[in-house]
Symmetry: C2
Subunit: 359 residues, 2 copies
């Protein structure tokens, strides 16, 4: 049973929380919009469910509410940003805006970010490019939960990759995916429901197969996309490595097992190899390659053809990447956002701690 | 039983074949180097095994040996290239060279290519960036063999993605992967050996599970990385779609089910949506983000730490992406290239058809 809350009401609450965290007024709306975009798009694990976590990290001074965001290095089509331990929810869109501005002038813009924190959903940032007739790219490394192929050690985050492609009349194609077999949010949902998970999502501490969603607490690890070597887990590992190198090594952030945990009850490694967590953003102006109108017409054609790809008898139709999220957004903007009872309870508790009404 | 041939001898043969195809003298060495880089790196499916196929397509006038390669549109960090139906083996490195030159000046360079053909292995092109202290990116779409999640229709190629990252003393990290559960080369090897393949690589024409490597001839299809919805095949589909859009839609090449087959016995679709097949290349100068030396030192550290990631008891160590290929290259440069008997026979036959000695 979920509790349904209107988007406006939830947003009002989040705005008040960020204000109490002393996030500067100019950033509060941005942070709330990024966080809530996850709830709107149905990525419940990355929205308000994480709000108490942000507050706890801020209380431990591991999030700097009023950071000195700065470009530390740049070339015409690139920049490296130091986020000064600020909210990724604010650093992310600011860095993406730099990428977009560079793309406007030079055709593409690429921004590596260090010293940041959890940036919400990649799709928010990548999709900022769409209204400029640009392709958007967003990725981030994250605290280690995933073991490389053949290993039982957690070395990589679920390191998501997002690409957003402009379209004409159809909803845009938005690929937003963890590079693990299953996103951590799916695991958390199974934990909450105490349901078995499919084989191939996790392994136990010896590398053995497991269907226990709680196995990470017992030394287990998430598996890369592909699940095992025979089914291409080395590719999932390669993708997660790519995200880690572009986000972490290229920016000067932490990488691999050194990425700090995004929970207040775990301390960051004492021997960091960089600053905070890292992101990588990109914007590519369509007109820098071909006329935007031609591209968008062809994207509509692409989307319609793929929607019509022959389904298996009695099976569902092909789902275009980003389509379920676009549908969720339309529905939730109108009908409200369902919160799991435990999320509702946590937000109520958070509200009472901070002197903010949540009901 | 393989036949071992020295790299020099094989190269000499390939040079003669391309010369007989009337590839201009200035391009012959380049084409041969790209093709043979696959054999050297152990990607046997993409090397000389394909040479007879290139010749057959040239005979059918579907490969233009002396194309008018030109930039049709550009901005400072971008270009779109029309390959005039030339050899992808030549168009690829020329387009990548443009990306590198743009990256030298503007920090990054991105080149979309239309009207091309099979470009060999992505790693050759992406790795061109390494000696310039740049990160290299290469991808290509390909003729449709892969069905999207929930579909039984072949809509996408195995659409590979390659990223090459400079390192210091360690071998560079080179991620080069088909976005299908298994590369077509692995399937071809199983066909040749008439061996069953693991479940999750292919489906039959109804969408049912299959372990038959010949199932594509009976209306089956390859599955995206992830194999099924529960294990993230929608992510493999999303990655293949990303490659298809960047390579095909952005460049003005064919995309999706319209990508022309790279075999002479199948005709291209009669209703093309673009020109030839498409590639997408990128180069990112490390110094445009942080000093190259810092990056390379950190890459060495990354590589060594991941090599040491704890393996399962009794299991193999973690394999760094690109490491097996680098080892194969060292071995094969020294000890020669093993050819499967059927490849040896095909090359012998090709030689005798073209009046070139192969033995």
């Amino acid at each position: 049973m979920s509790v349904i809350i209107s988007h406006d009401k939830l947003k009002d609450f989040v705005l008040q929380v960020f204000t109490k965290m002393e996030v500067p007024a100019k950033d509060v709306l941005l942070a709330a919009s990024v966080l809530l975009s996850a709830d709107l798009r149905g990525i419940d694990s990355h929205g308000v469910a994480r709000l108490p976590g942000y507050v706890r990290l801020w209380r431990k001074k591991r999030i700097n509410a009023n950071p000195d965001f700065k470009i530390v290095h740049e070339m015409p089509s690139t920049a490296t940003v130091d986020g000064d331990a600020g909210l990724g929810l604010v650093i992310g869109p600011k860095a993406m805006a730099i990428a977009i501005e560079k793309a406007r002038i030079y055709g593409t813009g690429w921004v590596a970010v260090r010293n940041s924190n959890h940036f919400g959903i990649g799709a928010f940032h990548a999709m900022m490019a769409l209204e400029h007739d640009m392709i958007g790219v967003a990725m981030t490394n994250a605290s280690p939960l995933v073991a490389p192929t053949f290993s039982i050690e957690r070395m990589l985050g679920t390191n998501p990759i997002c690409y957003a492609f402009p379209s004409g009349n159809e909803d845009p194609v938005v690929v937003d995916m963890a590079t693990s077999a299953a996103a951590n949010g799916k695991l958390e949902l199974a934990q909450f429901q105490d349901k078995q998970i499919p084989e191939g999502w996790v392994q136990d501490k010896t590398g053995g197969s497991s269907t226990d969603p709680h196995i990470l607490k017992a030394g287990g690890s998430l598996l890369p996309l592909g699940s095992d070597r025979d089914h291409g887990s080395h590719k999932g590992f390669g993708l997660a490595a790519t995200v880690d190198i572009l986000s972490g090594v290229l920016s000067g952030a932490n990488y691999g097992p050194w990425v700090p945990p995004f929970v207040a009850f775990l301390e960051p490694p004492t021997n960091p190899v960089g600053l905070g967590i890292g992101h990588f953003f990109g914007a590519m102006k369509i007109d820098a390659f071909r006329p935007a109108l031609d591209f968008k017409n062809n994207m509509d054609f692409w989307i319609r053809r793929f929607k019509e790809a022959k389904p298996a008898a009695g099976g569902p139709a092909v789902i275009i990447p980003g389509q379920p999220e676009a549908m969720a957004q339309k529905d939730r903007e109108l009908n409200g956002i369902p919160l799991l009872p435990y999320v509702y309870d946590e937000l109520t508790k958070l509200g009472s701690e901070m002197g903010i009404n949540f009901k």
